[in-house]
Symmetry: D3
Subunit: 248 residues, 6 copies
């Protein structure tokens, strides 16, 4: 059930028995010489649709551009400032809560979004509590990071070991290859790739990670791996969502 | 060329010869008893991809949620405040201009976005002019509304006459039927439908347009019409984009 | 009835039978070699006073500085950012709505204000709906652009033909000559004047319109024309206001 | 020299030898049963024009609506929030400084504006210092409160003694009578009028000052007093301005 | 009673009989060659604790960084922008008012904070009046500047005469010596020290006050003076607080 | 070296050889029936001072009020909104970076601050990169959470096992007892204490954690434990700071 493919009377009916919604959030940022710029949004959206089907939950529109300021020294990267993203989330939750939604599960494809999302949830609970919306105090939001699912993590470890790295990883590239097999990119990847260096500003990031990868070897990715990882993520996040949505 | 399916070195190469980008912007809002909530984003995205192919231009990620505060009394509608959308556009243009883009063509599917987009462009030119970005003063942005294309307008008139209306129109519904033929909705539509009443706040809107339509009869839409309208829009906006991008 | 020349008990009494207010909004920006920097505010204020008298409506204080960022490469131009102007309008409407006003008719003298005003109205309806103000959902706002009145447009066409142009026009200059006959300026005006070039940032604007005019020949203006145009605008906007204020 | 009655080439020429500008700022707020709602703007504007003539200085557009939140429980009062007014001032100073102005003298008619103006000046110096504007570090701004001029204060004391009060004072009412002799209002004024109670929020204000006056007897005002006070204010503020503008 | 050393049930009990709170606010800014950077916060906090004890009032956490943009050309100075400080105060008052506090007495150690605090109080009254908090309209806030107490002023005059100056004064330095006798600094102080020059931006300030002092001779300070001044301030501000808190 | 007890020339000298600064950040929030409201600020400040001494680093003023919106249903709790805290951090880093600081180590006492601090660092790097400050691109910031130090965690586990809980923990209470032995509180604590419930809005939090504790038994705390924990935290964070400050 994609919100975009529903009508408002269908949403009205849905809300009679269910006040949960899944919102995919990704990023538009460099993913190394071979990773797609939309990697994080593509993964989040695909997995969110899977979770939506598995759990019979409405899936809202994908937030394609997230908090990726540290990637903006690479062309094609886009980012909201954290203060902008907070207002975006606050607007989303205000619109939807006024209509009756109360459980917000953000399926996230980008580590850089996590901190700002959590800040945004706090700001939103507070903001909503001051509006004249009856269900405001029942609102709950949660981030589900597909790449942090236990089963995904273990599979990635098994498939790629240390070459998984932490950005432009073979596991996320594999999921994009599963989703867009016609968009698999090739480029020579240096075996020397930095890792372990903390993330600060954009120019600092690029000087330490000159081709954009963080300790990863995305050449190991295959569409078949992507399918396996996709399935593991959908299964684990579906359970996680249901636990969240059904909690007292 | 979808930005999401490119790598950063591909963007870097593109920027050697082309500094234009097309950004689809829609809305997530009620479209009457049978129109999809994602209608405006679906149309804008599909047409933007067509224009991108026709003109060999990068197409950025779709802005799915726009300025639709007046629709928020119908469940499933989402909206940014204008002040939030201005910051979003400003962040997009800052990221992309720093990388070298200078021509921004927003293919828009929702009338409610136009005023805020224009305000956002003014704010962005000003903001960029105060940053240390060499190409800031060369930045130009333009809105291309597919539903206002002359050929689209004439075809809609020819197909639907007065029943085109101004929201949840058969022409936009037709384009979504062309894009998502498996999501065609049916519902009985009252022949009595209001029109001509101005748009103010959300509750005022719903009291005047109780089922969400503004003077339209979307039951007239067919996927075949959608394809015709899509083609007309792609053709006209491609010309419009090229004229914009190549101007001195 | 100018709000500035009323007392609060007079306003209290007025509100017993009338909740409408007219607010003039202009701009402080270059108007070519001979046009007054205050042209847009002068015209809007004069015409608003006329409409206020004709319709027995309170006229609020003039917003002298509007959204004119694109004119700021010419000395003497002033501008609010769109995001600032939105907050200004929101504050105006909050103050006045709390007191009982519900119909806001902005008589506007500057095209550059329109987009931001519309965005501001949307933001204000939303904002007001979340406050504890009983009449918030009845609030309606409208822009009346004097220079777009049908009768004004036709008269300008008749008087000036193509030399009306679109900025620093003889028609607006004529109205200022009618209002301030002692401030008629003379300067040699090149017969070559650009037109048709779209508006982007401030430096881009000045490079395309070096003396500030957009396709106009303000030397054609006379105070007598100004009086005619003033009368036509007052008449048409008075009708437009009454229709707006009296609508259900 | 009113900025609104100048052309941009005249401003350009002025800036060759003078970088000072006077900006009147008032308020739109209740002034008791007989005081005009525009009192503070009327006085500030009239006196600013006088100072502009006396010192050959450009006078910018009047800020009609200031910081008067505490008056908003009386109908007809309007106010910006302090955070909005700060952005307005910042926008004014950015536009004008980019053009070459560096000395800003705000002639103020309303005590409630002072704190926010000072805050806004600090914010503006800081903001300007981070832009690429050469003259940013030379910018200086000052508030000149006409009602606090020594000569004005002494004359008011002499004319009205304790009945001057601190809001809706006979001295400010007198100046408006001098400027608008056709708008002199009459109403019975209770001899009992509160004074000395501090200013907090709007409802608190109205409960302590039920007719809006703060310890004043505006019935003592005459247009002749107004002229005297006007002349004293113009003289003293002209000296004050020149000292400010000519300081190293 | 320091809020930081209380438990929430103790606060709950306190609020049964008392809704007042004292909040110290200082600054982190240069205080000349020998004055501590924390001078304003140290004095405000010490005196606030004294007033809290004397009046049995809760003392909240010290705002250490205030509005000191004009000092930021000296290393070690920190400042909030006025617009930030307004939001900070608004957040403080919202949290505390929701819990039941209604009387806010800010004991202030820095002249540069006064304007922004007053603006923030206005913004907060307005903001609170629009929330669903019953006691919002009873909220009152006041600034108590210890250095402006009559008795302090007289004692400083008596001790230091003209050498008191207006920044990095011997009186404030003396209070810090009384509080931190182990942190008394020595440096040669030029007998030539500027004074009387108005405060504008940071670089302008430093160019006129090269060592940071404004007309003062802090070498005159002693810890004994500090104790005397401390006692005078505590006594006078305690009376001032009680009068404020107990007013109708 | 406390910044508050230094003079500006001392800071200037310090910056010749060291550009690091430690900033303690806590919170002002309920800590159960016996925990001090200032617990998080007290711990952060004490440990930061210890780290400052151990590493010869300047320690800035404590941020006493952090992001604790979820605690605000308990009286005495105070909070900034995340969007406010982001602006506060941005202002701190702008002031200090302009003076020459480039390494910011926030010693944090409150889990609720972490997300917003990380968001604020991203926003600050971006903001600083657009100012005219030479060292802007060298700026780095890091959060050091004393309660997450490995040695602290192990010691708490050893001392308290499962009764450590996650809020109003015996370990943090112990540190406050060590710092303020005269402020040890006693109250009967129910052995039944909830745990494991996620954090959403303020009223939801209080309904699940009615006395404010999250799974903890603070009655186990002793000042001696506090000293041990303090020493472990200082040691580990000193190492962490030096590694951060000395990294390339
Ligand atoms: Ni990724
Ligand atoms: Ni549509
Ligand atoms: Ni004009
Ligand atoms: Ni007044
Ligand atoms: Ni001081
Ligand atoms: Ni804690």
């Amino acid at each position: 059930m994609l919100l975009h493919l529903m009508t408002w009377p269908e949403v009205e009916e849905y809300l009679q028995t269910n006040t949960g919604i899944i919102i995919p959030i990704g990023s538009t940022e460099q993913h190394g010489p071979t990773g797609l710029i939309g990697t994080d949004a593509i993964c989040a959206e695909a997995i969110a649709k899977g979770v939506g089907e598995a759990t019979q939950t409405v899936v809202g529109p994908t937030i394609n551009v997230g908090m990726a300021l540290h990637h903006t020294a690479f062309p094609g990267s886009m980012s909201l400032r954290p203060s902008t993203l907070i207002q975006v989330i606050l607007d989303y939750l205000t619109s939807l809560t006024a209509a009756g939604f109360t459980r917000y599960f953000f399926i996230n494809g980008h580590g850089g979004n996590i901190a700002t999302l959590k800040a945004a949830f706090s700001e939103s609970y507070y903001h909503l509590s001051h509006l004249n919306i009856p269900q405001a105090t029942q609102v709950r939001a949660k981030v589900g990071n597909w790449f942090m699912c236990r089963a995904v993590y273990q599979k990635a470890k098994e498939l790629y070991g240390d070459q998984e790295g932490s950005h432009a990883t073979p596991s996320e590239v594999a999921v994009t290859q599963f989703v867009y097999p016609e968009s698999i990119k090739n480029a020579s990847l240096s075996p020397d790739v930095n890792s372990g260096y903390p993330i600060y500003g954009a120019s600092d990031f690029r000087s330490h990670y000159p081709d954009g990868r963080m300790g990863s070897n995305p050449a190991l990715a295959t569409p078949e791996h992507g399918e396996q990882l996709y399935n593991l993520a959908v299964k684990e996040l579906s359970e996680s969502y249901l636990k969240f949505a059904q909690a007292d």
